[in-house]
Symmetry: C2
Subunit: 445 residues, 2 copies
Amino acid sequence: MFARTSLSGFPEWLPEGRIIENAFLDHLRTTFELHGFSSLETRAVETVDELQRKGETSKEVYVISRLQELKEERSSKKERPLGLHFDLTVPFARYVVENAGSLAFPFRRYQIQKVWRGERPQDGRFREFIQADIDIVGDGALAFHHEVDLPLVMLEALNGLPIPAVTLLVNNRKVVQGFCEGIGITQVDEALRAIDKLDKIGREGVLAEMLENGISGERGEKLLELAGIRVSQNVKAAVTALGVENELLTQGLEELESLLEAANKRAPGRVVADLKIARGLDYYTGSVYETVLEGHEDLGSICSGGRYDSLASNGKRTYPGVGMSIGVSRLLSRVLTQELVTPSRSVPTCVLVAVNDEAHREDANDIAYALRSRGISTEVSPNSSKFGKQIKYADRRGIPFVWFRDENGVDTVKDIRSGVQVEADAQSWMPPASDLSPELVVKTD
Amino acid sequence: MFARTSLSGFPEWLPEGRIIENAFLDHLRTTFELHGFSSLETRAVETVDELQRKGETSKEVYVISRLQELKEERSSKKERPLGLHFDLTVPFARYVVENAGSLAFPFRRYQIQKVWRGERPQDGRFREFIQADIDIVGDGALAFHHEVDLPLVMLEALNGLPIPAVTLLVNNRKVVQGFCEGIGITQVDEALRAIDKLDKIGREGVLAEMLENGISGERGEKLLELAGIRVSQNVKAAVTALGVENELLTQGLEELESLLEAANKRAPGRVVADLKIARGLDYYTGSVYETVLEGHEDLGSICSGGRYDSLASNGKRTYPGVGMSIGVSRLLSRVLTQELVTPSRSVPTCVLVAVNDEAHREDANDIAYALRSRGISTEVSPNSSKFGKQIKYADRRGIPFVWFRDENGVDTVKDIRSGVQVEADAQSWMPPASDLSPELVVKTD
């Protein structure tokens, strides 16, 4: 259990947990850069106006104010109210508009940062948490193939982590919209909201809610047939069999089908068209993505996103995009609290150099510098107590090797796990590759 | 110029600047881990009580409040007021006390995070900025040698960056305190505050201020003699020549001398005992550290710290420590605005795979996946326009190589800087090592 929280909703990890977090973030970053995504960071704050540009959101915003300002008489000339960002999309949209002249489009960026929401904390829901986003944004236009490319990058990133298998669930706004139009449903948003509750309120509940919104039982039944489709290939055939014809539907099915085809080649069995996915369909305009973590379906989607025709706009220009966001802290919290992964040791240190007595500390420092110069993380014993105590110090932190120099100047290094001690030269000795840095060990039971 | 700010005091970098920032942070992290420091991150917020535990600080705190809460009638049952941390020391002290049972002491940690201060923004002073701290903390006691070890780690970290040479300036509270006692100055804090202004108000100003505080001109002159000492070795001899005797002074000189000796061995010429350094001497209890960046003395100290006998205490136990903190954003801002360093390209991408026509996009994807599987950052051209335009796309971002497959399936790769085009196999071709990732280029004029 490497997670602690002394303030509800604000998780902190012990050093062991932080090793796992860093390894996860390094892997995400490496994968994103391998695919040509540039790193970006935006400031933690936006103006409250910007945070509410799309109207009141359900995300609770934290506003910040200077403590002195609160104490002083409020001055008449107030600064613009600022709030902490609640996601990385709002600041990215603002950044794109501000810096459009310096960016090359289509612009690919990843952004891994903390975000804040003043929500009531619950299991897996935090007030401060890390998101890892990737987006591709065009200037005016963005070709469809990016909707195929991007989720495959995310899937590669997630399935490279030492966690249970991740499955990507996809749908397409055009399919659902076109299908609704094809069967004469005009209240598409209402229909989507009802479908979104399928798992909670069941078929009868969904039909009842649609009826309340003026959608006939017959049409509702038909839409539920669509929502029931869950296939990893031939989605076009499955939908066409329902006998509904509509141009937008046809276009959406072409898109969904080509996404599945690419996915079956790059990540066989890991991408599923699940046509009941409705979350975000009011916002997204093409593909929508969710994910499930095998055996942890209760976590909900750990990574979601989609295609939006207007990420940002400055009046003259519009920037369409496609993006996905990983809820890193939600995922990590599960990994840490259930110890799905543990680090092979709690410190970066590979070797502890023993100190014979304080007069010889400088000898130990020399050995340590020689080892470090070849990339071996090394500490010198903080004290010169009996060797047994120095070994215990290493053992407590999981440092695998202790280095000794005897009174004749002969160096030996001891693997304190096996007890094997061999002669060694600080200029050339290397630990086994698996001991060089802490490694992640996956729980296997 | 890779830095932009649309909100005063909250700097943001363009992708080029972010490449430099990431390279700097990676180097710091690698150096700290090489020396056995564990990574930690604490939440961004602390209770306002905690932030003001040592009394009102000069650092302006940002308090946060939920927007809904502000709008609603303030409820009688209020949440504890929270504020954003203004440094990494206060949260670390709180973390150590909270998690002492799970940490092994002496505990070595590094922490690289943003901090916030509601100050009036000025050149090099931000409201949001990154600090990089290392500290070693003991449980009850901490041996002096850590005061030698720690600044040498920082110096190694800083002088490994592609920036002008960094010099470490050191002083010791015991030397100044002991010297004052030895010459009969009892108003030590007042004397230190005056000495701290030496560069601003000159010798006469300092003497006048000391006189106001009841320190005689004779004693003031003597203290100025001490403050005038600036040597990189034999500090003990230089101070002893002033003929002042005091036990604490002797102890302090032993410490300072042994720090210089070690420094002259590990980082010759880069450490200077500068006995006029007084900042923080009211807080620190042993060694104090500052740094100067050659040619950028106007920036002030980019990295400071010292020894404190009580980082934290929970009543029963006291945790002494020694630590230093780099003002990363202040340093980076200078590097970026003066373009002291530029990246060899603006994107991680090494190869752009050209697309002959949309029907053959999947061929380009296959090539890209083959290259990426061997660690080569690769993008596929977002469009299938004329090759000239695709090459221009690569050129605009500084992507050095464009990959082509002709109608016979023959692959070639073109270095668009030299124009040289050679046959290549996606399963085995490697770029020169210097082109694999963006490299930092140091301004040489």
